[in-house]
């Protein structure tokens, strides 16, 4: 398999009036072409910040750690994302090799511009095709994602489309430039369950067709189980567990992953009590020392959890967990 993306030691902090807040702390992962990486975590876990870092989309008060390195492996060579500065160069990761779909399709289309004009604009920015050709491609894409009457929809505004159709249009726009990596930030959260399934099916189909890599961000483990090949579980800016999605969900290694799974309501046993993870996510201003999860962990083993940041340990084939429970397993790959 060909490597598409490598993220090493990514740290993102934000300068705020209350001080410098750490949103992503020393995160490393990689993605191959044609694979779907699911990133799960509660809000505030740093999953969206991580995704935005890949396109350098975080707001102006974001500070990237000096060790942070994001490498995009393209056919034409490697791109060091952190080194991109000029708007022209940033286009490689903004709509060129990477496209992003956002949670709220309604809010991510400009309300006073037609869907078509936004699609054409993007195509013209990323290629030197004619306006006419850009229009043809846009309509083809709208047709491809299953939007009926694409010529009419092309000339309409986002508010004239239904929720599912908007997200389809968003996907069409994101894929029209043939990106190598698609970042989907909670793309189905705002949709009805039935539409959700359609959109997920569509995305799976398109990955296979376009042979892209996908980073799928969600807080919904059910969606991840259906969509992703691999999973990365994030908590307070740290990846705590990674591995192939089925194994991780069947036998979670990290206490946090276990907690997330136990907190899911079960349709097959309606009388089973819900078991939420105790406590609240700590404020990012007061990140716990040692293992960030120790304040809520039910399997805490002592001072080592409070004082030492756990390393990644191999916990099975292609799996790793950052937890002191596995301190005797030997080091795994980060």
């Amino acid at each position: 398999m060909t490597r598409l993306l490598t993220v090493e030691n990514l740290t993102v902090q934000f300068d705020t009036t209350e001080g410098r807040i750490t949103a992503v702390d020393d995160v490393s992962f990689s993605l191959d072409r044609g694979r779907v990486l699911g990133v799960v975590g509660e809000s505030g876990s740093g999953k969206s910040v991580t995704a935005k870092a890949l396109m350098k989309l975080n707001p102006g008060n974001a500070v990237y750690g000096g060790q942070s390195k994001i490498t995009l492996h393209l056919d034409g060579g490697e791109v060091d994302v952190m080194a991109l500065r000029k708007a022209r160069d940033l286009r490689i990761v903004r709509g060129g090799a990477i496209s992003m779909i956002f949670q709220e399709p309604m809010a991510s289309f400009a309300p006073a511009l037609t869907v078509g004009s936004q699609m054409v604009e993007q195509l013209l920015i990323h290629s030197d095709m004619s306006k006419k050709r850009a229009r043809e491609i846009s309509i083809e894409m709208l047709d491809r994602v299953g939007i009926p009457d694409p010529v009419r929809r092309f000339g309409q505004y986002a508010f004239e489309l239904s929720g599912g159709m908007r997200q389809r249009a968003m996907i069409a726009m994101a894929l029209s430039t043939h990106p190598k990596l698609l970042i989907a930030d909670e793309p189905t959260t705002a949709l009805d369950v039935t539409i959700q399934a359609q959109v997920i099916d569509l995305m799976k189909e398109l990955v296979a067709e376009f042979h892209m890599g996908i980073i799928f961000i969600t807080h919904d483990l059910g969606v991840i189980a259906q969509t992703a090949d691999d999973i990365a579980v994030m908590y307070l800016g740290k990846i705590v567990e990674t591995g192939p999605v089925r194994q991780v969900i069947r036998a979670p290694a990290h206490p946090y992953t276990r907690g997330l799974l136990a907190a899911l309501p079960r349709l097959d046993d309606l009388d089973a009590p819900l078991t939420p993870i105790p406590g609240d996510i700590p404020s990012p201003l007061e990140r716990p020392e040692g293992c960030v999860f120790h304040t809520r962990c039910g399997e805490i083993i002592g001072d080592v959890c409070r004082g030492q940041v756990p390393c990644f340990h191999a916990v099975g084939e292609g799996r790793a967990a950052a937890c002191h429970l596995y301190d005797h397993n030997g080091e795994g790959s980060a």
Partner: protein, 337 residues
């Protein structure tokens, strides 16, 4: 297109209705002033030494049609007003349309020029300050706009006059040079007018600009933070193109909406500035008519013209808003195209 025409027609009818209601209020207020035109004129004559009898007053009343019922007089007044005929001034015995002649247009022109000046400055400055991270720039702009908001127009006018009198020995007042005042309109007179009019335009524009910058800045800051802007950035759109097509384009609607209020405010400030700069424009004439000569016919005419202009501008901005914002268009057309 049919629906749009219908929308414009509906708005025009509503503007008309507003104007008629306003005219009724204005006319009622004119009526509430104690005494009527006949009494007032003859009382004025009296002070000039003529002997006036009750019969004279009655005759004058009949001549002016003041013996007719209130509603009839209002209908006659409004009928003539819409044709640009406001009757005669109570005191001056002159045709009001002739008396006002271009004074009202001059007032309107000055106010509109101040409005245009305000937005010519406020649009770029507001956009830059909403998107710039420079603290120095933002604080400077904030200071300037607070000065604009806090410094009363009349004080600014006085300061400028004082300055020009002391430094240049030139008083800078009036709208025309003395030799041009009564000359018919010509190229020279127009130039002379512009040479004088910049000052009231500047003074009125000063606080209007401060207001407008605040409006533009707030609206832009709002838009810049929205998801569709981030999404556009994520598609590789950047720089001026991003600003123009995304946040600026979408902040335009509310800005258009606020134009009517702005013109209203400038109109309200005009008489005070005009008084200080001794401009012979409609605003100062209005104060004169209301406060000094108690000339209800003249005051009513000016108020009617003022509200008429504001209603007309609001009508224009409503239509413009529908052209600029597809959401507005969508809602007025009930979903159809």
């Amino acid at each position: 297109m049919y629906q749009f025409t219908r929308f414009v027609a509906m708005r025009a009818v509503m503007a008309m209705l507003t104007l008629i209601i306003v005219s009724f209020i204005v006319f009622s207020l004119m009526e509430m002033v104690p005494g009527d035109c006949a009494e007032r004129y003859l009382a004025f004559k009296n002070t000039q030494g003529s002997m006036i009898s009750i019969a004279d007053i009655e005759a004058e009343r009949i001549r002016l049609g003041l013996d007719k019922p209130f509603m009839v007089r209002w209908l006659v007044w409004i009928w003539h007003a819409f044709q640009g005929d406001f009757g005669e001034s109570c005191i001056l015995r002159l045709n009001i349309s002739q008396l006002l002649s271009d004074k009202f247009l001059i007032s309107l022109g000055i106010a509109l020029a101040a409005l245009v000046l305000a937005y010519l400055i406020a649009l770029p400055v507001g956009i830059i300050s909403a998107t710039s991270k420079s603290k120095v720039l933002n604080n400077t702009l904030r200071l300037v706009s607070y000065l604009g908001l806090a410094l009363p127009n009349f004080l600014l006018a006085l300061m400028i006059m004082l300055f020009s009198t002391v430094v240049y020995g030139n008083s800078l007042t009036g709208l025309f040079s003395p030799q041009m005042r009564d000359a018919p309109w010509s190229w020279d007179k127009a130039m002379d007018f512009l040479g004088h009019a910049w000052l009231p335009v500047f003074i009125l524009g000063w606080s209007a600009t401060a207001f407008a910058i605040q409006t533009v800045r707030a609206l832009m800051s709002d838009e810049v933070g929205k998801l569709y802007v981030t999404a556009a950035k994520a598609r590789g759109i950047s720089g001026w193109r991003l600003l123009r097509r995304y946040p600026a384009r979408h902040a335009l609607g509310p800005i258009i909406n606020s134009l009517g209020f702005d013109l209203n405010r400038i109109f309200n400030e005009l008489p005070v500035v005009a008084l200080i700069l001794t401009l012979t424009e409609a605003g100062s004439l209005l104060i004169e008519a209301l406060a000094r000569s108690n000339d209800q016919q003249l005051a009513g005419a000016i108020i009617f013209l003022l509200t008429g202009s504001i209603v007309a501008l609001n009508f224009a901005t409503d239509v413009l808003l529908a052209i600029v914002d597809p959401r507005v268009r969508h809602s007025i057309m009930g979903g159809g195209k």
